[in-house]
């Protein structure tokens, strides 16, 4: 089967692109590794218009079911590589399945940025976590460190404080950069202590779980801080490594360069959501959805102009 469009990524950008392309009567396949995408890690979403509060996973599920009902086909797989032969794109998955399409929308989002310090890999699942929503309740009445200073870090610290007895929010800069509404809540929470201008150097444990971290600055006259857990919320890195064969233009950090119509430098290839350079202004569900909608429309326009719409 030759799809009108294959959408790579099953988060808000990709699913919105599927919703829009379905309504333009374009056959579309969504291929992604996590149904719902990064939003499923959010404990609460309170800034998606029309819905005053919803969990990230519920919002993701709603988008997923809307995309399916409208005709989007959705598969859960990692994309390994892409190819282009004349006007046909081939998407190869990690299980060596191949799918073909007339156009592509890349909406592969970001992966979690790691600290890349000693002990981090060794203690993943043993105190080191990248998901406050998943793992906060395991730290009831315990002491935890959360690294980061943007929205997900501050909202994560507040969520952790519902369970932990003490939360240290360790940030490398002198001022938190989250929305003021989060910053105020962090500062007024008696369980959260913000440690500014400080980095973690090493995560240390007893072999089975985390016990302390080494810092690059003194806290309470010590260069280390005892803790039961380390949560890492320092943003993402674009998932764009599988694109190399298509020569899609990226900026120096690996974000795909698009114009305001979500068009890339390669004919027939569009991009949307957190993986694009345009997302860097504000990486939110609502902006990812907006980009997905535009990309969907751009695909329709492109196929129409090139007289490749299926009659």
């Amino acid at each position: 089967m030759l799809y009108d469009v294959i959408i790579i990524g099953s988060g808000p950008a990709g699913l919105t692109a599927s919703i829009y392309t379905s309504r333009y009567k374009l056959s579309n396949l969504v291929i992604g590794k996590l149904p719902g995408g990064t939003i499923t890690y959010a404990d609460k979403v309170q800034n998606f218009p029309g819905v005053s509060e919803i969990s990230g996973v519920q919002l993701g599920e709603k988008m997923l079911s809307q995309a399916k009902v409208l005709g989007g086909e959705i598969v859960t797989e990692n994309v390994k590589s892409l190819g282009k032969n004349h006007d046909v794109f081939t998407v190869a998955s990690e299980y060596d399945k191949e799918y073909q399409s007339k156009t592509l929308i890349i909406a592969s989002g970001t992966g979690r940025r790691k600290l890349n310090i000693p002990g981090e890999g060794e203690y993943v699942g043993k105190g080191v976590s990248y998901c406050t929503n998943c793992d906060a309740p395991f730290f009831k009445n315990k002491t935890v460190i959360l690294v980061g200073g943007a929205n997900s870090a501050c909202s994560g610290a507040i969520h952790l404080a519902e369970y932990a007895q003490k939360v240290y929010l360790v940030y490398r800069k002198s001022e938190l950069r989250a929305e003021p509404i989060w910053v105020e809540e962090v500062k007024s929470n008696p369980k959260i202590e913000v440690i500014y201008d400080t980095n973690l150097l090493e995560i240390i444990g007893d072999g089975s779980k985390v016990t302390q971290v080494k810092l690059d600055k003194e806290i309470n006259r010590e260069m280390s801080l005892p803790t039961d857990g380390v949560f890492v919320e320092i943003g993402g890195i674009p998932t764009s490594n599988f694109l190399s064969s298509l020569e899609v233009e990226m900026d120096k950090s690996g974000y795909i360069v698009v114009n305001e119509e979500m068009v890339t430098n390669v004919q027939g290839v569009f991009a949307a959501g957190d993986v694009t350079n345009k997302s860097l202004v504000l990486q939110q569900t609502v902006t990812a959805c907006a980009q997905g909608a535009i990309a969907g429309y751009s695909v329709f326009k492109y196929l129409k102009q090139n007289k490749r719409l299926t009659k």
């Binding site: 996590l34 990230g56 797989e77 299980y95 993943v124 998901c131 929503n133 998943c134 793992d135 779980k209």
Partner: protein, 103 residues
């Protein structure tokens, strides 16, 4: 058929099982765990008779979760002859899990 493992039936259903057993440690408050639920359900049907597959709620069954040091979910542990032989953390797609547990 998907099994429901508990602190009470864990020894009988998992540790003494003749077939390998895949346990999905989850909780209702965990987003990625919920996305994993249909994957587990589908696998339980497909691998029926080869691998016993089921879920274990960590809130309702704290003893087993603590015994295996679960501090992050979703976590999948494959048991063979009563021993944990493989641990997978975070959301995984079906084929990914199947590949990991059938090697």
């Amino acid at each position: 058929m998907e099994y429901k493992f508990t602190d009470q039936n864990f020894e009988e259903e998992v540790l003494k099982s003749e077939l390998p057993v895949l346990v999905d440690f989850f909780a209702v408050w965990c987003g990625p765990c919920q996305m994993m639920a249909p994957v587990i359900e589908e696998m339980a049907k497909e691998l029926e008779g080869k691998v016993k597959i089921g879920k274990m709620n960590v809130d309702e069954n704290p003893q087993t979760a603590e015994k295996y040091g679960i501090m992050s979910i979703p976590t999948l542990i494959l048991f063979k002859n009563g021993e944990p032989v493989k641990t997978l953390q975070g959301f995984r797609g079906k084929e990914d899990i199947v590949k990991e547990i059938t090697i």
